[in-house]
């Protein structure tokens, strides 16, 4: 399942890559891209566990860039 989320206050371009790497390491995530320019997260993950996966994504993002929030 593909979903797109708006990100808020993603201020640093380097964090984009860090976040992307971290999200892609979560199990169940097929592919995720974070775009600093469009301030968007596009995630393709397993349909069944999508809720849990997103929870993990939020947790990981908080760790990488505490100021940045994912708008659900």
């Amino acid at each position: 399942m593909m979903k797109r989320y708006q990100l808020k206050d993603l201020d640093c371009a380097n964090c984009e890559a860090k976040m992307e790497n971290a999200i892609n390491k979560i199990s169940g995530v097929n592919k995720a891209t974070v775009s600093f320019m469009t301030q968007k997260l596009v995630i393709d993950a397993e349909e069944g566990h999508f809720q849990e996966i997103m929870k993990e994504v939020v947790r990981v993002c908080k760790k990488v860039e505490p100021d940045c929030t994912i708008q659900m």
Partner: protein, 623 residues
């Protein structure tokens, strides 16, 4: 400015005033000598904490999370270090300068992000649905196929559909970059994203929003930044190695000279701190995706959709371009191009031919009728007889007219003048006497010749045309347009083989582009390094198969795309060289103790700002 930026600005102003005031304050006054240092530190901590508390806090928090090497950490270490060695006002000033730079940087990035998004802003906010005699605004996503929507003058068409009633001129510039309005009448297909400039239109929706042209284009452009260019991947990788290397170097710089050479600790620690400030790779990391994004945005403004930064990069290295003929360089519509009458006026010749062919639906007959342009009077035509494979025989105004190919003239034993002009030739005889010939050909697009010239000028070395058409026709078009090579009489499968062959002869970074109309050349589009589909307004197949999509069908847009790509890549290279060059220079100055902390902060923040400003130049690409 955003709320966050305004807050930062206020903090900057207040702490700048405090810093200035404390620096001017007489030092001796009431404080005894031995407390002087603590007093100085105490008052300077006020502006320092005001301006730098978030940076320090982030640094601490990141260390707790196990992330050490980021700019917050570097700035905190550098400024705290400056305070420790007694340079209080310098510590505050560096932090202040850093924040000014950060603010400017985020402002510039936001601005260019906004202007790029504006370029691509074709998303309709609402659709009008007629209800109980009045209009109700609904979300375009709620409209279903078959619903009738109303688009008033000045409004954007929210969904793809067919005009049910009303006529108008549509402004398609948001999609094609083209300013000539398009006329629509009841029955015309219209696509979302166009602006209705004059009358009231009632449109029957034929596609839901998610399937509509606008949604597809937005999706494509938004996803474009996820296909990263080699330059972008290089920078991300580079930053991963760069920061740890510089931090290690700084550590060695701080420790080795004092330990082994017995030099003063303070001086070398200060140099190491400068090293850290300079080392931040922000300038590169921000300006490069910004440049590519700007390039993609600028291109989409001209009606050129690029599916990823990597394709923009490839386009800049394109040396060979292969065109399909029909529909790409030519209009793909047959038209009467020349009349060669024998013993009568041109109009007469055309009239006889058109009337004789008036009962046929063959494309040739249609183009004759279109060229004639007047109403067909059935009473003037009698005894129509089709002669399969040859043409027609009909009685027009009492004269027996023969119209057809060469074989018809031979069969009827009519002495004729052969016409060797390329294209399809219709020979006409009236009352068994040769009356002349008419040439019907696919017209070359108006801007095709200029497009080839512009591509050559832009540095494309080889232009090739592939066609399934006859040799004479293909070669004539090719020489007319100034193409370097032409392959004719190809079957669809042969086109892939020819492209393979051309690809074999390429070396290194050179890229090959194939341009087609996307209808039956999907295999070639995907085989080429860069597949360019044109005339894609509303065509799913083309958007799907190609890497670059031209919204209208002008081949000259390709040269524009190449120019934008080259400019983007030029700016990317400038930024890489400039940022690394300045940093390397200041790192050296810092290591030898020539640079001060001020210069170090400039090397970091100043370079970022200049690189960002340079990147925003892409948005001002000429048409």
């Amino acid at each position: 400015m955003t709320k966050k930026q305004k807050k930062t600005l206020t903090r900057i102003i207040i702490s700048a005033i405090l810093l200035g005031a404390f620096m001017l304050m007489p030092t001796t006054a009431v404080i005894p000598e031995k407390w002087q240092m603590w007093w100085q530190l105490g008052i300077m901590l006020i502006p320092y904490l005001l301006i730098g508390k978030d940076v320090v806090w982030k640094a601490v928090r990141n260390i707790l999370h196990g992330k050490v090497f980021d700019e917050n950490f570097l700035m905190s270490i550098a400024t705290v270090g400056a305070m420790v060695i007694g340079k209080y006002s310098e510590g505050v000033a560096v932090m202040l300068f850093y924040q000014v730079g950060e603010l400017f940087q985020s402002y510039a990035v936001n601005r260019s992000r906004q202007s790029i998004t504006e370029l691509m802003d074709i998303r309709p906010d609402y659709a009008n649905i007629e209800e109980d005699g009045g209009l109700r605004q609904v979300d375009p996503e709620e409209v279903r196929i078959g619903d009738i929507i109303v688009v008033k003058a000045g409004e954007r068409i929210p969904l793809d559909g067919k005009v049910a009633s009303g006529t108008s001129l549509l402004d398609t510039s948001a999609l094609t970059g083209e300013s000539v309005p398009r006329e629509v009448v009841p029955g015309s297909d219209v696509i979302s994203g166009c602006i209705n400039t004059s009358g009231l239109l009632r449109i029957e929706v034929t596609r839901e929003f998610q399937e509509s042209t606008v949604a597809k284009i937005l999706d494509l452009v938004e996803n474009a930044s996820s296909k990263k260019a080699k330059a972008e991947n290089f920078i991300t990788k580079f930053a991963g190695y760069y920061t740890p290397v510089v931090v290690t170097a700084a550590l060695l710089l701080a420790v080795i000279p004092p330990l082994f050479l017995g030099l003063a600790w303070g001086d070398w620690v200060n140099r190491a701190l400068m090293f850290l400030v300079i080392s931040c790779p922000c300038a590169l990391v921000i300006s490069i995706p910004l440049s590519f994004f700007g390039g993609i945005g600028g291109a989409s403004k001209c009606g050129i959709l690029v599916k990823g930064s990597n394709y923009l990069e490839a386009l800049a290295d394109m040396t060979t371009i292969v065109f399909d003929k029909t529909g790409t360089l030519t209009k793909g519509v047959f038209k009467v191009t020349n009349l060669y009458p024998a013993g009568m006026k041109k109009e007469e010749l055309l009239q006889y031919a058109a009337l004789a062919e008036s009962y046929s639906d063959h494309p040739i007959s249609l183009s004759l009728k279109e060229a004639y342009g007047r109403k067909m009077d059935a009473e003037r035509i009698g005894e129509v007889e089709e002669i399969p494979g040859h043409g027609v025989s009909a009685v027009v105004d009492g004269h027996r007219v023969l119209a057809g190919n060469l074989k018809l003239m031979k069969r009827m034993d009519i002495p004729y003048e052969e016409n060797s002009v390329s294209g399809t030739v219709v020979y006409v005889a009236v009352d068994d006497k040769f009356a002349g010939s008419i040439v019907i050909a696919d017209e070359v697009k108006e801007d095709a010749k200029a497009a080839i010239a512009a591509l050559n000028e832009a540095g494309v070395r080889k232009t090739v045309m592939l066609t399934g058409d006859r040799r004479e026709v293909g070669e004539e078009v090719a020489s007319k347009l100034g193409l370097d090579q032409v392959y004719t009489e190809l079957l669809p499968g042969d086109k892939v083989d020819k492209v393979e062959e051309l690809l074999q002869n390429m070396n290194g970074r050179e890229q090959l582009a194939f341009v087609g109309d996307g209808i039956n050349d999907a295999p070639v589009l995907s085989r080429a390094d860069i597949g360019i589909a044109m005339g894609a307004m509303g065509s799913d197949a083309a958007i799907e198969a190609a890497d670059i999509v031209l919204m209208d069908d002008e081949p000259s847009k390709i040269a524009v795309a190449v120019r934008i790509a080259r400019k983007t890549l030029r700016i990317v290279r400038q930024n890489i060289v400039f940022a690394l060059g300045v940093k390397a220079f200041f790192l050296l100055l810092g290591a030898f103790g020539v640079a001060t902390m001020w210069e170090a902060v400039f090397a970091d923040v100043g370079v970022s700002v200049i690189a960002i400003l340079n990147a925003t130049r892409i948005l001002r690409t000429e048409e």
